[in-house]
C-alpha cells in the first residue's frame, strides 16, 4: 500500500467525519478544506494531475472561501449547534448510505470495463501526462458539451450580476 496515498485517504476520511459531526459550522468548513486537499492528492495518484491543481484552485481557493464568507457574514448561522438537528439525522443517514452503495457499485462496474487490470497498465496510465490530451479532447471531440457548459456558466454569471445590481 502506498504510504502517501494512505495518508491522503486518512486525511480525507477523518476530515470528512469532522465536517459531518463537528457542532461548530466554522470548524466543519475548515475541515472541509482539508478534505478537498486530500482528494487532490488522490487525483494526483490517479494520474489526473491537472484535475488535482484545479481541485485546489476551485474548491480551496473559491468554494471554501465563499462558505467561510457566508458563515462570517450571517449571524444566526454561526450559532446553530448540532443538538438542534439531532432528530433530523435519520433521513440524511439513509440517503447517504444509499448514495454510497450506488456509487460503489457504479464505480466497480466502470473500473471492470477499463483496461487497467494489470499493475503495469495501471502504472502506465497514472504516469502519462494528461493535460495536453485533456485540452485536445475538450476542444476536439467534446467541443459541444464544453461549449454547452460555458453557456450555462455564462448564464449563471449574468443571473448573479442581475441579482446583485443596484436597484
Amino acid at each position: 500500500m502506498n504510504k502517501v496515498l494512505l495518508l491522503a485517504e486518512i486525511l480525507t476520511v477523518a476530515s470528512a467525519l469532522v465536517v459531518g459531526f463537528h457542532p461548530n459550522i466554522l470548524y466543519a468548513s475548515v475541515f472541509l478544506l482539508f478534505t478537498f486537499c486530500g482528494v487532490a492528492v488522490m487525483f494526483l495518484y490517479a494520474g489526473a494531475d491537472f484535475l488535482a491543481g484545479a481541485q485546489i484552485i476551485i474548491y480551496v481557493g473559491g468554494v471554501t472561501i465563499l462558505i467561510l464568507f457566508a458563515i462570517m457574514l450571517t449571524q444566526w448561522l454561526y450559532k446553530i449547534k448540532l443538538a438542534d438537528l439531532r432528530n433530523k439525522m435519520i433521513l440524511p443517514a439513509i440517503l447517504s448510505v444509499a448514495v454510497a452503495v450506488f456509487l460503489y457499485r457504479a464505480l466497480h462496474q466502470m473500473v471492470a470495463t477499463l483496461p487497467l487490470q494489470t499493475p503495469e497498465a495501471l502504472e502506465k496510465f497514472t504516469s502519462t501526462p494528461k493535460t495536453a490530451l485533456m485540452g485536445h479532447a475538450l476542444l476536439g471531440s467534446y467541443l459541444l458539451p464544453f461549449e454547452a457548459i460555458t453557456i450555462l456558466l455564462l448564464g449563471a454569471m449574468v443571473g448573479a450580476v442581475w441579482l446583485a445590481r443596484p436597484e
Binding site: 466554522l26 475548515v30 494531475d49 491543481g53 484552485i57 472561501i65
Partner: protein, 377 residues
C-alpha cells in the same frame, strides 16, 4: 523533467531510508532554511533600506555591518515576545491560520526554476501548481482574522479574501497567453523556449523572452504583475492591513512569531510572484542574447547552474525591487476602486490579450517578433 505522478512515486522509492514524516521534515527544512527564511529575512532589511533611501534617511545601520543583521535581531525579538492569544478568540484557528500562509507560499518554492539543473520538481502542471498552493493563503488570512475576535481584524480578513479571490482570475488569465505560446504548463520547458540567441542555430525554434514575443504578451506581463501585487496584498493594494483605517488589519492581534510567520509568508509570496513574472515573461535563467551552454566549449554543469541561478535571481530581485519601489510611490486604492479595477479593467484586458496572442499565433504561424525580425518568418 519529472511528471508529478512520477515525482510522487519516486518520493515513495526513497521511503526505505526514512519514514514519511522524516522526508517531509527534511524537504520542509531545506525549503524554509535555505530559500524562504533567508529571503524573507533579508527582504525585510532590504525593504527598510530602500524605504530609507527613497525618504533620504539612513535606515537600519546598528546591528552588524551596515545593519545587515537587523533581521536576525528582529527574529530574536519576535521569539522573545509574549505569546498572546485574545481571550474571546478561537485558540485552535488562531494557531492554525499563520501556518496556511507559510505553507501556501513556501510550497510554491518547490517548482521555481532557479536554473535548468536546479529545480525542485519540474512538474508538468508547474504553473497550475503555483496558482493552486498560493490559494491556501486566502483561508489563512480569513481564519486568522476571525479567530482574533476583533472587528478591525475581521474587516481586514474579509477584504483580503475577497481581493485574493477576485485577482486570482486576471492572474490566471494573464498566464494563459504564455501557455498558448509554449503549449505547456511545465515551467522548465516554458523557460527553455525563451532562449533566443544572436548567434545560435536555435533561432528558428526558440523565441526571445515571452514579454517581447508580441505586443499582447508585453501588456500581459504588466497585468500579471499588477494582479500579483494585489494577491500579495502589497501597496497600492494593501487594503487588508491598511494602517490608517484598520489598525493593522488581519494581523492586528498577532504578536511574536505568529506575526513573524505572517510577515515571512507575505515576503515569500512576493518572491514567488516575482519569480513567476521572471520565469514566464522575462526569460527565467537565460542570459539575454547568449546561450551559456553553446559557447563552443563545454562548461561544467555546476558552473552553468551557478551562472543561471544568479541570472534568475538578478531578474527576480529586480522585480522585487519594483514591488518595494511602488510601495513608497503610490497611494492606497479605495475598496470600490480595487474591485472596479479588477473586474472592469484587468479582466477585459486579459481576455483581449489572450485573443490577441491567439490571433498572432495564427497569423504569424507561432513566430515571435524577434524571429520575424531575424528573418525566420
Amino acid at each position: 523533467m519529472v511528471q508529478s505522478a512520477q515525482f510522487a512515486h519516486s518520493l515513495e522509492g526513497w521511503f526505505g531510508l526514512l519514514p514519511l514524516w522524516g522526508w517531509a521534515a527534511v524537504s520542509a527544512f531545506i525549503v524554509i532554511y535555505f530559500l524562504a527564511l533567508p529571503f524573507g529575512g533579508l527582504a525585510t532589511y532590504i525593504e527598510r533600506k530602500i524605504a530609507a533611501d527613497m525618504q533620504d534617511r539612513i535606515g537600519p545601520n546598528r546591528v552588524g555591518p551596515i545593519g545587515l543583521f537587523q533581521f536576525a535581531a528582529d527574529a530574536v525579538k519576535m521569539l522573545a515576545k509574549e505569546d498572546f492569544i485574545p481571550k474571546g478568540g478561537d485558540r485552535f484557528l488562531f494557531n492554525l491560520a499563520p501556518l496556511f500562509v507559510v505553507v501556501g507560499s513556501c510550497t510554491a518554492f518547490a517548482v521555481l526554476p532557479l536554473s535548468k539543473y536546479l529545480i525542485g520538481a519540474d512538474l508538468n502542471i508547474g504553473v497550475v501548481f503555483i496558482l493552486a498552493v498560493t490559494t491556501l493563503i486566502a483561508p489563512g488570512l480569513l481564519l486568522g482574522s476571525w479567530a482574533s475576535e476583533n472587528k478591525w481584524s475581521l474587516l481586514g480578513g474579509l477584504r483580503a479574501a475577497s481581493q485574493i479571490v477576485s485577482y486570482e482570475i486576471p492572474v490566471a488569465l494573464s498566464i494563459l497567453p504564455i501557455v498558448l505560446i509554449s503549449g505547456s504548463l511545465q515551467i522548465g520547458s516554458i523557460v527553455e523556449q525563451q532562449g533566443w540567441t544572436v548567434f545560435g542555430e536555435n533561432q528558428a525554434s526558440y523565441h526571445f523572452w515571452n514579454a517581447f514575443h508580441n505586443p499582447f504578451t508585453f501588456f500581459s506581463m504588466f497585468l500579471l504583475f499588477i494582479g500579483g501585487l494585489a494577491e500579495t496584498n502589497r501597496i497600492p493594494f494593501d487594503l487588508p492591513e491598511a494602517e490608517s483605517e484598520l489598525v493593522s488589519g488581519f494581523n492586528t492581534e498577532f504578536s511574536g512569531m505568529r506575526f513573524g510567520l505572517y510577515a515571512l509568508g507575505e515576503f515569500c509570496d512576493v518572491f514567488v510572484m516575482s519569480a513567476m513574472v521572471t520565469a514566464l515573461y522575462l526569460g527565467g535563467w537565460h542570459i539575454p542574447f547568449l546561450d551559456i551552454e553553446k559557447l563552443g566549449f563545454a562548461l561544467p554543469t555546476a558552473l552553468v547552474a551557478f551562472v543561471q541561478f544568479h541570472m534568475f535571481m538578478i531578474k527576480t530581485l529586480l522585480v522585487v525591487f519594483v514591488v518595494m519601489w511602488l510601495r513608497w510611490t503610490l497611494p492606497r486604492l479605495r475598496v470600490d476602486q480595487l474591485m472596479g479595477m479588477c473586474w472592469k479593467g484587468l479582466l477585459p484586458l486579459a481576455f483581449f490579450n489572450i485573443l490577441g496572442t491567439a490571433l498572432w499565433m495564427w497569423v504569424f504561424k507561432g513566430q515571435s517578433l524577434m524571429q520575424l525580425l531575424a528573418g525566420h518568418g
